[in-house]
Symmetry: C2
Subunit: 197 residues, 2 copies
């Protein structure tokens, strides 16, 4: 066992997702060897993020400013909203560089079990944004899971009669995939959604 | 991409051993969801460890005090020194609860390639400790690797004529191992070191 203070730091690291006691110990050891460079920087950065980062009141993205740097960016199209479940989904779409509109981060999916209703997902806020600004397209980019698709379906229902083009990400065979290794559900969807060449 | 501040925190996590950009992102996301509880605690703990933890001047262990809580513990035998390569080796032996003496943390192994000589490993300091205190046994608990064994051999040479009992951890078949899965080196060593029943 290490000294009590070091043990308590190891315990803090061990609570992070995907880290067991062994890897937590390895990380703390690495940091102990780079106390002035890495360890203090990490401490400062964590404190800075914890105190300065807030949710964007517009879209739910986390940033040091609200509206966030995406909502505030004049070069982005404010008339197109991409609806995602969680922050990492937004990050993934941003990494792809495909989308130049704005976002709406739900923060989860509809779930009676977990008590997540439309209000928790800020769906009323999404509807207000649609009415306030002249939104032309809502892209539903929820996960291709049952929960994600149910949520997308619910939002589609709410958008009825609002005169907004609603689209959803295409489902099918992922780029680079081999048919032999695909699950039946994906193959089925890809067959059903087949297009003329 | 996340906001620049969050991205820089992800980069800090990504520099930790065994973490790729994906798992670093996952951890930061977890921390963002527990800003007040986990994130600030982790920041404070990191700062506390970075500022308060120092190497024990006696044995090289890291602790908030020097002599460390092991060297300062009156219930431990100060006449027995266990020589280990690195801090995690000390932690592992402490976890086993087997050893009730004191330690000497080398901080590595002898290596011409990396320029690690006897001075870097505080071997002169070990010899001074042997002469100052009435040490009865030195247990060489370096790793069973070529570098570890070379270092143990060098220390054994230095201890010649000092009238100190020098021992080394037994090598052989690990508890619970199946012969079929053992490497040849271990089997060879276990055969050579066989004992009467």
């Amino acid at each position: 066992m290490a000294s009590p203070l070091i043990e308590s730091l190891i315990a803090q690291f061990g609570r992070l997702p995907g880290l067991g006691p062994r890897s937590a110990r390895r990380m703390v050891l690495h940091l102990l060897r780079a106390k002035d460079t890495h360890m203090l920087t990490l401490a400062d950065k964590l404190r800075e993020v914890a105190t300065h980062v807030t949710a964007c009141l517009e879209c739910g993205n986390l940033d040091t400013q609200s509206p966030c740097h995406i909502c505030a960016d004049a070069r982005r199209d404010p008339h197109s909203i991409c609806v995602v479940e969680e922050l990492p989904d937004l990050w993934a779409i941003e990494r792809s560089g495909m989308f130049k509109g704005t976002y709406h981060v739900l923060g989860g999916t509809l779930s009676a079990l977990h008590g997540t209703g439309p209000d928790e997902l800020k769906i009323p806020r999404l509807l207000t944004r649609l009415q306030e600004k002249n939104i032309q397209e809502v892209i539903l980019a929820t996960n291709a899971t049952v929960a994600g698709q149910t949520t997308a379906h619910y939002i589609t229902d709410q958008l009825q009669g609002l005169n907004v083009k609603t689209t959803q990400l295409a489902q099918g065979i992922p780029v680079g995939a081999e048919l032999d290794y695909l699950d039946d559900g994906t193959l089925f969807t890809a067959f059903q959604a087949r297009k003329g060449v």
